[in-house]
């Protein structure tokens, strides 16, 4: 019974992360997107902390703490400031419309569920579902990156993808501490660095682009 409760909560949190990914796909305002991303990170923190408690693995608390500090607090605040300072258009430009993107998202979740069931047919069904959730979060992050034009939302897609990786890593029991921490850190830092680089570049191009459009419209009149 107690085990059931442990599992149920972990399952709920993992599913909650998928839900948050969907909420991110649904947003069409930058600020709202950043806030939902912070929520995404908080759910991840809770999930990791719960795993730490259940598996009695104190090192996971470190991972949780990193997730909370960086992703739920520092990065969202920084992004808020940048968006404000650079005066980026606050509406997100989507390549596909939102309904279609979400429909694609459903398809991806279905796909990851099937893949997980095929890959590990004999395993514990509940663990498989958790892995399926993690894979879904990764795929949804990728979907977000390809379906958005704005650089900021692409970075957020990147990082939510990485949240999925962390979810998968913490769910798997028995991974050595060193490996786990180093994976977590290197992935984290690599993605942040790449993300910021990408962000700077894309960001510049995009703003230039939009301003050019505006002035073009002005000239015609």
């Amino acid at each position: 019974m107690r085990h059931d409760l442990f599992f149920d909560v972990a399952h709920l949190l993992a599913g909650g992360l998928v839900l948050m990914s969907f909420l991110m796909l649904y947003q069409d305002r930058l600020y709202a997107l950043i806030n939902v991303f912070a929520g995404h990170a908080i759910v991840l923190t809770l999930s990791v902390a719960w795993q730490a408690y259940v598996q009695d693995a104190p090192h996971l608390y470190v991972t949780a703490f990193i997730a909370l500090g960086f992703k739920a607090i520092i990065i969202p605040i920084a992004l808020h400031r940048i968006v404000e300072r650079l005066g980026i258009h606050r509406e997100i430009e989507t390549v596909l419309n939102i309904g279609l993107t979400m429909l694609g998202g459903i398809g991806l979740v279905a796909l990851s569920v099937v893949v997980m069931l095929r890959v590990a047919p004999g395993g514990d069904p509940l663990a498989r579902e958790d892995l399926a959730f993690a894979l879904s979060v990764v795929l949804l992050g990728l979907l977000m990156m390809v379906s958005r034009r704005n650089a900021v939302s692409q970075v957020i897609g990147f990082m939510s993808l990485e949240n999925g990786l962390i979810l998968a890593a913490t769910g798997a029991k028995g991974m050595p501490l060193v490996v786990e921490i180093s994976v977590a850190f290197s992935v984290l830092i690599a993605f942040i660095v790449i993300g910021i680089f990408l962000f700077r570049i894309r960001e510049r191009f995009d703003t230039v682009d939009i301003q050019a459009l505006d002035s073009f419209r002005g000239e015609i009149e």
């Binding site: 709920l12 599913g15 649904y26 939102i98 459903i106 569920v113 579902e129 399926a132």
Partner: protein, 318 residues
């Protein structure tokens, strides 16, 4: 004897729905007013409005047809029958087997069908815009609702609302992410179907925002009273539905002693109060959406419901 008691309970639920619906809407209005630091009309105001409207003459547009005059009764009857089949304080009602959850949704669909037709009958531009938007919203909300029913039915192994309620009240449910998704989807659908704030604003007469109000614009007197009453009943129905599926605590089964009924009734009223407060709070803090943002919003409900069903299918493989 064993026929009379269930009959009384069924009848009591039917009339309880009628009696409580205006109070619920009055309560929601009061909560909203208080949150905005206004005093607000008394909770009993909707009853007075009803009586006032019922006493007035009907002013019919010149070219209104028989359908226009019949529609309020059809809308009211459809909603009321649907509301009477949702367990409020006791499950396992006498007639609950006559229509399962799918049929209840379809009954609401009948009511909406007549409502949308009534909006078109007089041939005004406002009625048309209301009907047009109503069917647009419903075209997403109704499938979402059906898919939510799929999720619940897969879990409980039944589409009978009483069975679902007693299953949810039992201990072997556990925390399920698909249930959470279904709940969020149901909340979105409830907001959309009851013309509450992010989708429609029930308190305005501004043509850009209104959906439900636009359809009933040409109604007056007792017809308007019935239309309003039906809308209030529908809100009560959705709260009862959420209550009996996701918070089935205190729901008595039909065969217990009278004391059980009292407990059930108290629990039900508490649930309504809680629901009304949450709704009022939500409406105060959220802004109305653009019309073409609504399909995305309701579309989210459909997607979540679909995802929940998908996960149920996966989990049921164990």
């Amino acid at each position: 004897m064993d026929l009379i008691q269930p009959l009384i309970v069924q009848g009591a639920q039917m009339f309880l729905a009628l009696a409580l619906a205006p109070a619920l809407i009055g309560f929601v209005r009061k909560v909203k007013a208080q949150l905005l630091r206004r005093r607000g009309p008394p909770i009993l105001q909707p009853y007075r409005d009803l009586i006032r409207l019922l006493r007035k003459d009907v002013v019919l547009a010149d070219n209104a047809s028989w359908l226009f005059r019949a529609a309020p009764y059809m809308v009211f009857a459809g909603t009321w029958v649907a509301a009477a089949l949702v367990p409020t304080f006791a499950s396992g009602l006498m007639f609950s087997w006559s229509a399962d959850l799918v049929a209840i949704i379809a009954l609401l669909g009948s009511a909406r069908f007549f409502l949308a037709l009534a909006g078109l009958d007089v041939g005004t531009s406002f009625g048309g815009i209301g009907s047009s938007r109503e069917v647009m919203i419903a075209s997403l909300a109704e499938p979402a609702l059906i898919v939510i029913v799929f999720t619940m039915a897969l879990l409980a192994g039944s589409t009978q609302l009483s069975t679902i309620a007693s299953f949810m009240a039992s201990n072997d449910v556990g925390i399920r992410i698909s249930l959470g998704m279904a709940l969020i989807a149901l909340l979105i659908v409830a907001l959309a179907e009851n013309a509450r704030i992010p989708v429609d604003n029930p308190a305005t007469h501004l043509e850009l925002t209104m959906v439900h109000e636009a359809m009933v614009l040409e109604y007056s007197g007792r017809h308007l009273a019935l239309m309003e009453f039906a809308a209030w009943l529908q809100l009560l129905l959705y709260l009862s539905l959420i209550g009996c599926m996701f918070a089935p605590w205190g729901l008595t089964t039909a065969s217990t002693n009278p004391g059980g009924y009292l407990v059930g009734l108290a629990a039900y009223i508490l649930k309504l109060i809680a629901g009304g407060m949450v709704l009022g709070l939500f409406e105060v803090v959220i802004a109305k959406m653009r019309v073409f943002r609504v399909p995305e919003f309701v579309g989210v409900a459909l997607m979540l419901a679909l995802l929940a069903t998908l996960l149920r299918y996966v989990s049921s493989s164990q």
